[in-house]
């Protein structure tokens, strides 16, 4: 992998409007992720031992640090599955950033093994941020919302 190749990859991404590309060849793996501001971040790692791969983070998802204010409540995924913002593809999302929610309101769906599981709010508060993009995979315990308690 040399700089020229990396520049070619960046161009490839721009030409095809890709937000992420990963290439593995002859003992080297390189992954380029396009950040929302348009900059590109790259990670190069030797293949063995393999670095842990973060489950597909797309440009849509903002990974906010856990708290600008330390009282933000993390809503975590109770299971492994796929995160959906709305009940069905054409429906509007359950919540948007800034929405007020009450305890028991449905925030999202995590689909596992063809079953749709509702994730409900445990507190009254305001949606401060959404950490996962629609239709992305989530693991157990992964933060999906940050809620500012009322």
């Amino acid at each position: 992998m040399n700089i020229k190749k990396i520049q070619e990859l960046i161009q490839l991404m721009a030409d095809n409007d890709l937000s992420e590309i990963e290439i593995e060849t002859e003992g080297t793996r390189i992954r380029l992720i396009k950040k929302p501001a348009g900059g590109v971040e790259y990670q190069m790692a030797p293949v063995m031992p393999a670095a842990r791969e973060v489950l597909a983070a797309s440009a849509d998802a903002g990974q906010k640090p856990a708290d600008e204010k330390s009282n933000l409540i993390e809503v975590k995924s109770p299971m492994v599955g796929t995160f959906y913002r709305s009940a069905a593809p054409d429906d509007s999302p359950y919540v948007q950033i800034g929405d007020m929610v009450r305890k028991g309101d449905v925030l999202c769906i995590v689909e596992a093994m063809k079953l749709m599981n509702e994730v409900k709010s445990e507190v009254d508060g305001k949606i401060a941020s959404i950490s996962v993009g629609n239709a992305e995979a989530v693991e157990f315990g992964q933060t999906i919302f940050l809620v500012e308690p009322a």
Binding site: L55, M79, G81, A137, E139
Partner: protein
Amino acid sequence: MFRKILIANRGEIALRIIRACRELGIRTVAVHSEADESSLHTRFADEAVCIGKAMASSSYLNIPNLISAAEITDVEAIHPGYGFLAEDAHFAEICESCNIVFIGPTPENIRLMGDKMTAKERMVKAGIPVIPGSKGLIESKEAALTEAKKIGYPVIIKASAGGGGKGMRVCHNDVRLIGAFMTAQSEAEAAFGSSAVYMEKYVDSPRHVEFQILADGAGGVVHLGERDCTIQRRHQKLIEESPSIAITGGMRKKMAEAAVHCAETVGYRGAGTVEFLVKGEKFYFMEMNTRIQVEHPVTEMVTGIDLVQAQIKIAAGQKLPYKQKDIRFEGCAIECRINAEDPENDFCPCPGKIESLYVPGGRGIRVDTHVYSGYTIPPFYDSMIAKLISHAPTREEAIRIMLRALDEFVAAPIKTTVDFHRKILMDSDFKNGKISTHYIEKFFPKNEN
């Protein structure tokens, strides 16, 4: 061949499977509980998914989360390792119905051999020697007395759904029998949810010799020799070796044939182990384990065959590329299971941080371990931290190499069973093979078993 496999396990066996996959060019997905966030298998794998809390029921036994992890990572197969769901027929079926290949035997194999009674009945039909015992369950005190008279004392009453030493009672006469029968029933109920018990002749001070089987599901069945696992403490194996010095060439031939016949009779597929109890020149089928076993490296060293890769290839539909005559057996191998336990404190588990680790090396040594310097052993799972395996042309040499390796092994400051293994390997009874499954008791005269 599979493109990607999920390993539904942790610790050293997860590493073992990942290594086999890497060599075969298969991508790997590790799953882990929150407690295993910094476990080595999550670093070695290509991807890692958190599947639950520390408790096994929330994570490593959590079938919905495991299947879901398999789906979101788009794997074609799951390797269950040993323990956890490796012998769960229900899990194997769920994998099948989700179009994920379960790397192991069929659900029917697992069910049949998982029930000790039905497995035994099948072996009787196949003409394989079993321990004399009741034809079915013992359902009343009267039946217990009649059966004991028929079998002849001493007898042992065992839980049909059980294992691991629970729900078992030995008795030597009618006076003790009824009490033993009732206690065994209630222990079985408490441990396994079923009070079903059966009776067998009690074989005193036996040896435990098991045979490794590979079956490709298309008619190809081979045995890969035996492992002697007689050295146990509370039914947990401590040391395993191959070949066994307790069986003659004639016995080996008969037992190997019985093991292969057992696998053929039940239409077995995959890697499996047929366990026998040995007393003098007699051997009896005890049970079949339908999974890869902890002590598989012993067989790998002697035969040169990668058992985990064999499992994967069989699951991918490949036939065995060798016949029985192609299998070579070279030298002697010994394995010591090193646990983070304190032998001077009733083997109390000692989880904690390993500040400095030195893993033995040199000629004839293989070490399978998931621990590293700075690793904190979580308290939620089993205490095994490493398997030390030595291999040499003779048993004496394998013992010498193992003693050297035990001296080299450092896992400070936690307590381990290394010194205990050293004592056993230097003991003359061990060297002469004058041992039985009660051997360990001599090191603890009062309070064992």
